[in-house]
Assembly symmetry: C2
Homo-oligomer: 354 residues x 2
DNA sequence: CCCGGTTATCAAACCGGTTTGATCGACGCG
DNA sequence: CGCGTCGATCAAACCGGTTTGATAACCGGG
């Protein structure tokens, strides 16, 4: 009934050879006569033998698994489109390679470092993905100290001994601002994610740079937290400004959709009186009203390439350092939530909040 | 530099005892003099020794890990609020118990069974969570055959040797229909998830039963797939009916939000001309316009309890069967997307789609 | 015919824990 | 004083693979 009954000793006995020879034959090592190898493989097949992962793991000191530590509050995680798709991409590489994925979800804070530490000291994983990179990220030194292999998602702003797998956010944001400028917008606000994330910073800087390049003053900026509630509050703040923006670029789609809700509540029509641009390209975005203009990314592909790169880092056969990888950058997807700004007259007609 | 340098033999040498005694002392087994135990613990502490997980795993034939196989297409996964929150809840139990979570994301189909098979034959996990239960789910027999421990999320419709951790969807849906009936709705449509999921069925039946109880004919029903696109298509279909519903209940929030988008596109105002109820209680729901009336669930708590239950199943000290657990049922959360149906006159004024 | 080198194979050690069976000393009791 | 019992401890076996070092058989060259 139970799987995993036969050991390598059983195979050896059936094939009439020693354990060592079986091991050599099954691992394709030289020094085994072709005829003997055949006999051994046949014996293994007959018994339905499969190597015991635990024993192999002990003798070769490898876990045959990689880890992902996600440090986000549970409520934020549920709305985030990145991780599920990223993980799905990762799995397409891991499974065929005989590797498993260990997932750890921890509340933000010190628990995160403890998570990596456990992975390392217990020897549960051979390497990890470093996501949500932060400015001067302390985890890099931690992983180096722990001797864990890793790949980083995007390039850290400090020295790192790990290969980076990068998907440049900036071109998409640049295109978004250019698109809005083309339409005639001048005051273009930005709702950012938490400041210490590298990706928050790069998107925000891309916005600022694009404004500068267009000869415009960088419009109002609000730092939010990627949640719908945060996006709504940020939008309310921007719309309360005396010189309110005619367009807002958001660091993710969820905040953008919540922002449209706030605009709607105030009687501002999107896109006529307020243009909105999101970021991520979640599926729901094209089905809200109006359909969300957004910057699309490919977390699935990112996961795939990140996993391939991590496999390369872990592979004992890899000589020397593994190169960084650059993925296709994020791209603007124009839909219905952006349009020419309303003329002054039209804007005056909008009822102000009391 | 590298962690994990000292072995139990080092501790034994330092404490001046044998390996076996160290093992006894550290596992709290009797037959070790108090004074000796102290000496051993001190030695272990001094060396910073931690047991090698791989060695322990081999000798006790346990993985100290549990698995979750998610069989969903990547695009659907990104929009789903359940798994991230569920996993976060699971982790709150697993980490303190010294267990890890292995995650496998596979495309729907045969790959799923292969996933469980790998978990079992490689001995990677001691047990699994069985989510997204389907009608006459073949995975139950598979897991029994593989000898894996498991808990099921909700009660299967066939015999099962695994404890079930249940969160009843139906009261929430029942309340939703009652709420709509109270408001005066008569034609209440339903957009379901894929039919073979147990939870799709139970929600749909709750809707049908509530309609029956209200003395109403079960309104039009469309089977969709939990995606925004599916929800939009289903809504379009319902609104195209000659006798179109004045309210629609959806099997999840994403479809409901997409449905509101469709209504909006057709010039139907929500809730004035169409009431909408979702299911899940995603954060974004309260920030769209109008805020979504929905049935809220607690996937985080579900994960916590499911993990506790699975720990109990796995624990060698547990005698006999583990009992099923019943969680707090889903509850209706009334927000702005439901209201009295428009009068006939008002409804006639609505522009029809060409 | 002997020698050095190669190839095929095996027995044993090893990875680092847990578990078993045996040993030893102290103690209580008849 | 001798014996049985018990508690503390140890050495060795074990989990199931991989890796090492030794050995035997065989080869061609001098």
């Amino acid at each position: 009934m139970e799987a995993q009954r036969f050991t390598i000793a059983d195979v050896a006995r059936l094939a009439g050879v020693s354990k060592g020879t079986v091991s050599f034959a099954l691992n394709g090592r030289g020094g085994v006569a072709a005829e003997t190898r055949e006999r051994i493989l046949a014996a293994a097949r007959e018994l339905g033998w499969q190597p015991n992962h635990r024993a192999r793991s002990l003798s070769v000191s490898r876990a045959f698994a990689v880890g992902l530590v996600v440090a986000r509050p549970a409520e934020l995680l549920g709305a985030d489109p990145f991780f599920p798709a990223f993980i799905a991409g990762v799995e397409t590489v891991l499974s065929p390679a005989g590797q498993s994925l260990l997932l750890q979800v921890v509340p933000p804070g010190e628990a995160e470092a403890a998570g990596y530490r456990t992975f390392a000291t217990e020897g549960r994983v051979d390497g990890v993905f470093l996501t949500d990179l932060r400015s001067a990220d302390r985890r890099i030194a931690l992983l180096e100290e722990l001797g864990l292999a890793a790949v980083t998602l995007n390039r850290p702003d400090i020295a790192s001994s790990f290969p980076a797998v990068c998907a440049d956010d900036r071109p998409g944001v640049t295109q978004a601002v250019a698109h809005l400028v083309d339409l005639g917008h001048v005051r273009i606000g930005y709702v950012s994610g938490p400041q210490d994330f590298i990706h928050s910073g790069s998107r925000r800087e891309a916005w600022a740079a694009a404004m500068r390049d267009a000869g415009l003053a960088a419009g109002p900026l609000v730092v939010a937290d990627f949640t719908a509630a945060g996006g709504a509050a940020a939008t309310a703040h921007l719309l309360d400004l005396p010189e309110r923006p005619t367009a807002i670029v958001y660091a993710n789609d969820v905040m953008a959709i919540a922002g449209m809700g706030v605009a709607h509540n105030r009687g501002l029509r999107v896109p006529r009186e307020l243009s909105v641009v999101g970021f991520d390209g979640i599926e729901l975005g094209s089905h809200v009203h109006p359909p969300l203009t957004t910057v699309t990314t490919d977390p699935f592909g990112w996961g795939r390439v990140a996993a391939e790169t991590l496999m390369r880092v872990i592979d004992p056969a890899t000589q020397g350092a593994v190169d960084d990888v650059e993925l296709a950058p994020a791209r603007l997807q124009v839909r219905g939530s952006t349009a020419k700004p309303a003329t002054r007259r039209a804007r005056r007609a909008v009822p102000e909040t009391p």
